[in-house]
Symmetry: C3
Subunit: 376 residues, 3 copies
């Protein structure tokens, strides 16, 4: 039995403060994916089945009870009490919260308070740049303010994120853009911009990534930019979670002191694991992959353990909005780890001590080392 009492959730968003009806809950279950097809429901997915397996017992119901019963019980308890019961069941000791999503979501401190754990901020670079632009008079002020803000954020944040940035072509060019080009792009962007306008200019995004690299803090990237983050997918119709196009950027940033953490590469998780085996500064996130694959997660985890050095993989939940997703992530991860590593121990392929040690590394040790968190 491979046990992992403590977890660090190295990438998540907060949970919704509002009460949820059946329809809203189902939409959240589907993530950024839009509406279900006619005649289908997002409850009929691995995530939906995993929520129905793990969460009802935490609220005093039978596993696999009908969604309507679960939602009724959830409303009875209220969003806050539900959040408390769910998050505190997970064994997550620290939440790294990406604060770049809109919506009535808890921040790092509030998430940590609900979950009785530590909370840390992952600063989303695009949002930070937009806030600087909102208060800048022109390109010079903006660029100076940006540099200062990034370095200021680095003092308290544990990582930077630029999850939607990689959806834009050229952002991952293997060298920083020159100062003239950056200035020109800033002028163009600021000129056409109204307060709150989103940053999607590839050259400025590229400048932002390299500025963040300069701080030495880990940088979280999602190949292809993810579904729906910043609406990039909807705009371009292009989506690929394949991390291989990040290879040149990884080669260019090797040895500069900042680690890269690849998020959400499924079904290219083996490619991500391979990059982590090639580049000392590349790490791979496990969590959201496992959350979305539910009963199939053990096979996915085993594939990620094929070639990645065991010091390069990190648990997360990848949750947004629903504390249920933290529960599913933690339970799915623990079960998959026990099945895969426990199976190898039973076969004599791994020693029990090595298996326990590797489980602890993936569950929390690697994240504590990479993000400089205190020992658990």
């Amino acid at each position: 039995m491979i046990e992992t009492a403590s977890l660090v959730d190295q990438y998540c968003h907060g949970v919704l403060r509002t009460e949820l009806g059946l329809g809203t809950f189902e939409t959240q279950l589907g993530g950024a994916v839009g509406q279900p097809a006619a005649g289908t429901t997002f409850f009929d997915t691995q995530t939906g089945f995993a929520v129905r397996r793990w969460c009802p017992p935490l609220l005093g119901l039978e596993p696999h009870c009908p969604p309507a019963h679960y939602l009724a019980r959830r409303r009875e308890l209220g969003a806050l009490e539900t959040g408390r019961r769910l998050l505190r069941s997970t064994g997550i000791r620290a939440y790294l919260v990406d604060t770049g999503l809109p919506g009535d979501l808890t921040g790092p401190g509030e998430t940590a308070a609900v979950g009785a754990a530590g909370g840390h901020e992952v600063v989303r670079l695009e949002r930070l740049a937009e806030r600087v632009a909102d208060v800048s008079g022109g390109a010079s002020t903006f660029l100076a303010g940006l540099a200062e803000s990034v370095h200021h954020a680095a003092a308290t944040a544990v990582a930077f994120g630029a999850v939607g940035a990689t959806a834009h072509g050229g952002v991952l060019a293997p060298e920083p853009p020159g100062p003239g080009a950056v200035r020109g792009a800033a002028v163009r962007w600021l000129t056409g911009r109204r307060a709150g306008g989103r940053l999607t200019d590839p050259l400025l995004l590229r400048h932002l990534l390299w500025t963040a690299i300069g701080t030495g803090l880990p940088l979280q990237l999602r190949p292809g930019g993810g579904l729906g983050d910043d609406g990039a997918f909807a705009r371009t119709g292009a989506d690929s979670a394949d991390p291989v196009p990040l290879t040149a950027f990884a080669a260019a940033t090797a040895g500069l002191g900042a680690d890269l953490v690849l998020l959400g590469c499924y079904p290219y998780h083996r490619q991500a694991a391979r990059l982590a085996s090639v580049f000392p500064h590349v790490y791979v996130d496990l969590g959201s992959v496992l959350t979305r694959t539910g009963a199939g997660a053990a096979a996915v985890l085993a594939q990620m353990l094929d070639v990645a050095p065991f010091g390069k993989l990190m648990f997360s939940s990848g949750s947004r909005g629903l504390p249920e997703l933290h529960v599913v992530a933690a339970a799915t991860f623990r079960e998959a780890l026990d099945r895969v590593l426990g199976g190898w121990v039973a076969d004599g392929a791994w020693s029990p001590g090595d298996a326990r040690r590797v489980a602890g590394m993936i569950a929390e040790g690697n994240a504590r080392r990479v993000y400089g968190l205190p020992a658990g």
Copy 2:
């Protein structure tokens, strides 16, 4: 035990009416793949082993008997009686037959009669356009006839197919071509064409796809165009079953009312499943993937269930020529489904009722809904 008594075969071709010798049978086993390498045989494949496992007992022989014994018994019974015994053992209640392949193959009605089931036509768009061209005087007549033929076919067919079309660059551009360009392409194609000449012009193929989309009928597409369909692979030397390049076309056709059904994406079946999770109108075919992977099918099925909503996957056999392939598809599918879903029930990950319900959806329910077939 997850049982699926009834199946809808949502994509297949007819069976050969002629008697088959050992060599011809082996060639058919290899699909469109050409000849086996010196010193090897197509019987030494998962499909070959699966045929030898499942079919001999249906003709009164031992499983895994030598191919020559099986073929002798097959000739003794005759092609028709063999077809009857094999097809009627499958539990397939409806055949959706793509009639676009050459050869002495049974059509939907005859296939259905042999199999004592329902039969429906999937109209291959390229073949339909070629038949219209054969009787058209010029571009105007051709284009008018094409529009009429597509809409006429939509009245009786259950779906359109354009399986080889996607091998041609530009066919999947995310908007229909303009009328002038279509007219120019029609003039060029008709000028150089002799009766029976194949349609491979990318612009006309693209026009055809968008005309079909306009009917609201489901459209079956095979990423890369498949091996050997229309000889596209042999001509171009380019082959990829990866559906990711269809993303922009999927985005452009979302909400227009026609569903897209992705065929034959192995080994990119996880990418196909992911597209089905993103776009409400995208569905994924299971069958030919499972037929070709035989003893390995359970692992492939599990991967397709990772992220696809369960309402988006549909069984098929993908058979062409040999009723043995229908047997293998049905048996492989049933065994894989029982192993994968049954395993999850045994682990407590899924409830038994959910597992039975999802099995029925994939086996026939989803196809009946998508193609508007009567309840089984």
Copy 3:
């Protein structure tokens, strides 16, 4: 129980003649991958765990003993005696040694002597061309000498290899370059070259591949050129083991009489297997994939058996430097084969006789046929 007493290692390098300390040994474990990340070690990988599982007992220690104990025992025995004990435990009856790597490595004859087996040379085309250039006065002499050397090598070598060549764009164009272009490239390369200078000119490499094809000997190719071979990866920052870009080259060389053997395609091993199912002259290597995935190898092997004809897969170790890697390759392969094929026999999917026959084909029979080795 599926047993494979004898193996042919169809792709490996020699073993290091020097004594190894803990640090050097760890570097060798990581292959061409560079240094481990701070806070991690290459011993914490599937390969590292597999070495600790299989090798210590062969030197009289407990499985999974600490690396330092193992290295101490290794030094006590000496490199030669260690090599003897390890290699002779593997059941490898023939080593096909790619002699194109630098370093103090044993050649085919010495490797064979240490392992008490047969030894054969795989001639690396780039190295051969460089040796010819070292003694050639000008382009004409060089090109004539190259043609002669390739055909001379074909008389004694069992295969050609061009493992790093495919990292260079255009090398896999589907036709040989014209004589004028070849001559021009030779003049340019020789002009700027000093003795020992590496051949990286894509046009000359392409000429070399087609010259080798002309001999009819099998040609070993590694999609993307591999990590670190010739430093190509480090130079370009581009790396992909995906064999799909080789499709046009495979189509162009079909029927010319030379087989292509795809090495090291993980995590695109299913794509490689699919190419082997499409082209009669394409074969796929298993070994280094299995060596690197250790406890996960059975799942990888099963995936390669999905669609590849069983006559198209061949064992190898892919080892370089450490005889431990031969041990791991052989043990991992045997265990994976027994688990996968044995499981299918237990399920009734395969007959026991077929399973034993296929095991023998993959272990040695296919390689003996493809490379024209005497029966084992």
